[in-house]
Structures are given as structure tokens and as C-alpha cells.
Symmetry: C2
Subunit: 418 residues, 2 copies
């Protein structure tokens, strides 16, 4: 990503489809302060007076978090996920939740993490941090194929490795933008169950899905095979840095009883960040209380905004590359219904050199899809993020992108015919 | 620590000298919200209007933090530490700073971390998390002895290990309460320099030191041998979870130039928590601005409060064990001038079994010092924390503790004479 930052810095006038940055036009300082007060009132209504407020807001809090009940209520109301608050750990964004889950689940020297590929760089970064081996399983347009997953597990086992968990983003994935169909979700759980794999389900874009949304893997989970990771960073409040993990698997507690896997994650958390800022938790809790637990209601405007941006992008792509032209050139893209990202496939290598040409000569920046392939691949893919651009920027940006793509293809064909 | 939690839970009426919990009577919700607004006004005064405020407060921020200038100003004004803002990383408490520093500094398979022993459990926890080997160097009453440190380094090298860094808390250490004299600080830097060791200086209790304070190791550092870790969690605002690392060592940046070691820490941070909550940073920044950069001014009342608690504890210990009685029994303690902790030495094994007797029969709880010895030791030590008790509780608590100690000694001698 350093190269991307460098290009962005060097060509400040370029329109950038690169950053997966939330749109912030709906954020409001006064509202945020009101939300914090709302949570304080909620604490006061529970009794304990000012001392309890000081306890909760100013002190170190429990490592597992202090808004777990509110998160559990929201998951029940909004997601049909019915888990006890005790199976939840509040984290510093979903990134910390990934670190905790990997540290606990992929703990043996032969343990391997599987990731669907292309995949979010946060999970491969967390794995690298912990010296964890990653095996990529390439996705098709409808997500992972059963046969590919089975083959990867078999291959790992054949070399004496133990695939323990699989990381996926079923909804509006980063980077591909694709959403796993319902049948694929059921099949994935089925295969995971049979292979003895846990599924790490990440869900950062659920709350900005215009819907109708498919059930999460966790909602479909019948065998506690899913550890669900969540974040409020793309939706309610990026600057709060609040995420969470749901880990309701029962494990031995070391004292002859059982405990939620969440407790093991909490223990690791106490060595990394001790606890998630109670102030940040208060801001998120106040928002959940404002929405009566239905956080989705807080994101209606934001979801519509992103949905519009996505449709605008797709409309301009369609206009720039009408169906026959598109086929003739070999340019394709998917059509996500929400989220931040879409994937464009081009008939040339979309690498750093191409990105530099695109920024310098055409004034448009994007992310090479190859960045998201831990074992190589994706060389002809482009990730577009639509989350932070307005309609005029999208129109102009897609125009520039189309000219860049046309020119690259002409150059490639030109040099190919020499 | 699980046993301690269990005992605390089981004997709720016991007076507890166990938790290193900041006193929260001076915290104030309204003041905190005013501080956040103060930082917002500061941003507005810098220009950029509401959009910039939204950018800074609500968005993901830079992984290195956005209040580095304010922290650098404070370190210059309050600590005589003059470092560029670019050498600072803002972290989720000092705990995350420890994880980052260990991950970057102790990276090779033969690298070893040295810790002064007894030592803070946060650093050994972070080392365990990262599978880092720890070697303890036992402290004397004036801190580490040069000969012990040299011997430990020689022993590690003889077994093919590479001691890379030494973790110390020079001021009001947790757990011992001891403060390293000025000569010992200079000597430590001298020895570290000669042995090629970096010093990880942790400083959580500096701001609640009633003073006069000795210079930090970082202020005395002439060879950039010190990575300084700091926290606002014991002082300005525990619930903000804001700490920092100063890492102004110059290292190769991988592109033919040099960069601050802080950049390497930042890269690791981006894989753990991405960035420290901008909301939390805003609350701390507002406090620093309120104090005109002199954070020590914000802790005058708190320092006095802890100083009083410490003196009250020492006075009651003196009364319970007058000098001759103390000598006859073999009971000793140190006399810190500030901070949260003091260490009591007793002539019997102060282990979990003793703690249980103390809680059950005498209604007083403390922390076995042995918890803080990574390689064993400290069996006859007791850590008392005075930070969260009022004067009446301290008086009653020391009385109970004295009766427990007397009874244990009588029992030990009784059984010894049988």
C-alpha cells in the first residue's frame, strides 16, 4: 500500500477510487456529544449515581467491554443473531478482534489460517504479525467453491498442517464487493462443519447494505462453527474505533468447567490493549440507545448514499463501455448492491506501473487487485471504492478511468501486434 | 491474578490493597465534554472548518496518531524531553506501546527481552503474547545493579541469545514502588550503551509524582538508547485509553533512507488497532490544551491525594510496627514518595494460601509479590496499593494487615518450635 500512498501524495488532483473511507457528511459533533450524554443517562437510570458514571466512563473497564448487553440486543433485533452478552468481546475495531481470534485459534505450530482470496489485507497483516501461516483459497463470482475449499484443506493436511479457520467477508466483501448467495452460505457452513473448520465471518459493511440483506453466517450457524467479527467503524462512528467478536463456542476453562471462547479472546486482549476505551464505547452505546437497538435505522441515509454512489458508478461504466464494446475489449465488472467496493477486470496487467500511468496521464487512481492476493494473482483486476466520492467526481473519475483503460488496451494490442 | 479476583469476589467486605486503580473523585463528565470542545476549537482555529473537525474526530486517523505535536510540546515543557513529533506513536494505552516495541525490537529467534524483576505483569504478558523469551534481572533497593545486568547479558550471550532491550519503570515502579536514584539512572544508561541494549522506559506514574521528580531516562539519553513509553491512563483519563511511545532511533527505511523507529512501530500498530480512537485522543488533547501543555499542572490535586494516602499508610505501618518491634519480627517496607505502590517484606511465605487466610480471617487483601517475579522469587513480599482507599480505610486496613502479619509470624514460629 506504500506505493498507493505515494501515488496519491504525488498526484493530488487525481480522482481517487482507492481509499475505503467512510463518507462523513452525516457525522455531527453535537449529535455525538448528545449520544454520550444519552449513555450517561442510561447508566444513571440503572442506579449508582455519579459514582457509577465515573466508574464506567473514566476508569479502566472490564477487558471484555461494558456495552456487551447493548451489542447483544442489537444483534438480536437487527441480525437475528441470538447470543449471550457473555460471548461477546468489545474490541478496538474489528482489526483487534482479528488479532485476538487468530492468536487464540491458530496457536499450534502446524495450524494454518485459510482465507478466501482476494482477501482483506487486515487479516493477512494480523497473521503476519503473529507469524501465522496463511493459505489462500481462490473465490469464484459466487464466493468459495466447495471443491476448492476441500482441496485446500486436503493439501494442507497432506503436508502435516492443520487448517483451523477460514476468514471470509460474506457481504460486500473488501476488495471484491461480492456478496455470497444464501445457498453458498449454507453450503460453506456445511463444508466447514464436515472439515472441522471454524469460520471467521467479518461483517464491516452489513450496516451500509441497502438491503434486503441475507442472513449472516452466524445467524445460520447451528453448530457454533462461526466466530463473528463486527465493526462500527464503517458505519456508526469510525473515530470511536469500536468493534467486537462473538465467540460463543464452549471451551474448557482450565478449572474443570466450560467457558465461552470469548473469555480466551478477552485474556489475550488484556495483554494488547487492556480494554476498549470506555469513552468510545459510550459514544457507540449512545447511538445504539438512540436507535432503540436497531443500528440499521441509523444507517438508512448512509446506506442510500453509498447505494447511490454505487449505482452512479455502474451507470457511468455502462455508458463508457456499452455491452458490445465491453465484450470486444474484454472489460468486465461486477454489480454490488451496496458496500464500498466493486471489481473491474481488464485485459492488461493492472500493476503499480499501470497505476502510475493512470494517475499521471489520466488523473485517476485505483487499487491494483493484486494487493489482495496473498499468494499472487489478480494481476488484471482493479478495485474501485465508491464510498468517498460525490456524483460529479464519480462521473469525471469513471470517464478518466475509461480513457485510461482504452489507452492501455490500445497500447497492449499495439505492442502485441508488433 | 485469577486467584486474586476470586478472593476479592468472595470476600467483598475485606479492605483491598490489591487493585492499582486510579482514584476517580476528581474526574468530571462536564469537564471532559468541555475538553473535547476545547480540542475542536483548537482544530477550528487551525482552519479547515467543520469538514476538518469531521475528518479529525470521526474518521479513521493516521495510525501514528493525531495529537503527536501536543504530546511533544508537553514532553518538552514538563519533562525536558525534546523529541520531534514524528518520533512519537500514539497508542491504546502504554500496553499497546509495549506490544509494538517488543514486536519490532525483539524480532529474531535468538532475541531476548530483559526485565528488571519484580516487574509489571503487562510487559511479561505482552512478551508471552508474542512468544518472546524473557530474562529477569533482580532489582536491589536502588534498582538494578550494574554487575547483575552485566552478568545476565553475558549469560544470555553464552547460550547464543541476543539480549536486545531492558524494560524498567524508573519512577514509583509497579510493583515495588521504588524509584531509581539519579546516579543509578546515569549508570544504567552507561551500562546499556556499553552492552548495546536499548532501554524500554515505562513511566505511568510520573504525572502522579508529588515531586521533585528526577529526570526520565529519556531526558538523560545521549545516544538514543531509550525508547520511552508513556500513558495517560493512571493520570489524566484512564477511560480514554491513550498512551504513546517515543522512538526517535534512526533506522533504515527500506528505501535507502532513514526513518524513526517510531515508523516501524506504527506499521505494526496498523495491524493491531489501525489507529487510536480520535475521540479518545480529542479528550486527552483537550486536557493538554487546558493545561497549556503542562499536564503535571492537571495532576497537582491527584498527586497530593496519592501522596497523602502513601504517607497515611506509612504512618499507620509505623504505628503498628514500631522500629524495635519491626526489627524483632523481621518486617520491613520501603517508603515511596509517590505513586500507587509500596512493598512490605515479611518473614513468612505470602502466597495464595496466606492471602486467603488474610481475606477470610482478617478482612484484608493484598497482592503476593511473587506474582511479579517471572522466574520465581518474591515469596515473602507483599504489594500494597494505596491509590483507591480513603484515610479511614487505610487506617482500618493497615490495622487488619498488622494483625494478620503478627498472627502469621506467631504461627510460623509456633510450628517452627514444635
Amino acid at each position: 500500500m506504500n506505493f498507493l500512498n505515494e501515488v496519491t501524495f504525488r498526484y493530488p488532483d487525481a480522482i481517487s477510487f482507492a481509499p475505503g473511507r467512510p463518507y462523513d457528511g452525516f457525522f455531527d459533533v453535537e449529535q455525538m456529544l448528545v449520544d454520550i450524554r444519552r449513555y450517561i443517562d442510561h447508566l444513571l437510570a440503572q442506579g449508582g449515581g455519579a459514582q457509577r458514571v465515573r466508574d464506567v466512563l473514566f476508569q479502566y473497564g472490564p477487558a471484555s467491554g461494558q456495552i456487551r448487553e447493548l451489542i447483544a440486543d442489537w444483534l438480536r433485533a437487527d441480525e437475528g443473531v441470538d447470543v449471550p452478552a457473555g460471548s461477546i468481546v468489545v474490541t478496538v475495531g474489528a482489526q483487534e478482534a482479528m488479532v485476538l481470534a487468530l492468536r487464540v485459534l491458530i496457536a499450534g505450530p502446524d495450524d494454518v489460517l485459510l482465507v478466501s482470496s482476494p482477501c482483506y489485507v487486515g487479516i493477512t497483516g494480523a497473521a503476519r504479525l503473529l507469524d501465522i501461516e496463511v493459505r489462500a483459497v481462490e473465490e469464484g463470482p459466487d464466493g468459495l467453491r466447495r471443491a476448492d475449499l476441500e482441496a485446500a484443506v486436503a493439501a494442507e493436511r497432506a503436508r502435516g498442517r492443520r487448517p483451523r479457520a477460514l476468514y471470509v467477508i460474506p457481504d460486500h466483501a473488501n476488495p471484491s464487493g461480492s456478496t455470497m448467495p444464501l445457498a453458498a452460505r449454507r453450503e460453506l457452513l456445511d463444508v466447514a462443519d464436515r472439515l472441522g473448520l471454524l469460520v471467521l465471518e467479518d461483517s464491516p459493511y452489513r450496516l451500509v447494505s441497502p438491503g434486503p440483506r441475507l442472513p449472516t453466517l452466524k445467524a445460520l450457524d447451528r453448530h457454533r462453527a462461526v466466530v463473528h467479527l463486527g465493526s462500527f467503524s464503517k458505519t456508526l462512528f469510525p473515530g470511536a474505533r469500536v468493534g467486537f467478536a462473538v465467540a460463543d463456542q464452549l471451551v474448557e476453562d482450565g478449572a474443570g468447567g466450560t467457558a465461552f471462547l470469548a473469555d480466551a479472546l478477552t485474556k489475550v486482549k488484556s495483554m494488547i490493549t487492556v480494554n476498549t476505551s470506555p469513552l468510545s464505547q459510550a459514544a457507540v452505546a449512545g447511538m445504539l440507545l438512540r436507535a432503540g437497538g436497531r443500528a440499521s435505522a441509523l444507517n438508512v441515509a448512509t446506506s442510500a448514499y453509498y447505494g447511490d454512489a454505487m449505482r452512479t458508478t455502474l451507470r457511468h461504466l455502462d455508458a463508457a463501455f456499452p455491452a458490445r464494446r465491453r465484450t470486444a475489449l474484454g472489460v468486465r465488472w461486477n454489480a454490488p448492491t451496496g458496500g464500498f467496493f466493486l471489481a473491474v477486470s481488464v485485459p492488461f496487467v493492472a500493476d503499480n506501473a499501470a497505476l502510475r500511468r493512470s494517475a499521471r496521464e489520466y488523473g485517476v487512481i485505483w487499487t491494483p487487485m493484486s494487493y489482495f492476493y496473498p499468494e499472487g494473482g489478480g494481476d488484471t483486476g482493479i478495485r474501485l471504492s465508491v464510498s468517498y466520492l460525490n456524483e460529479a467526481e464519480i462521473a469525471e473519475g469513471v470517464g478518466r478511468l475509461a480513457r485510461f483503460i482504452e489507452a492501455e488496451i490500445a497500447d497492449t494490442r499495439g505492442s502485441g501486434s508488433q
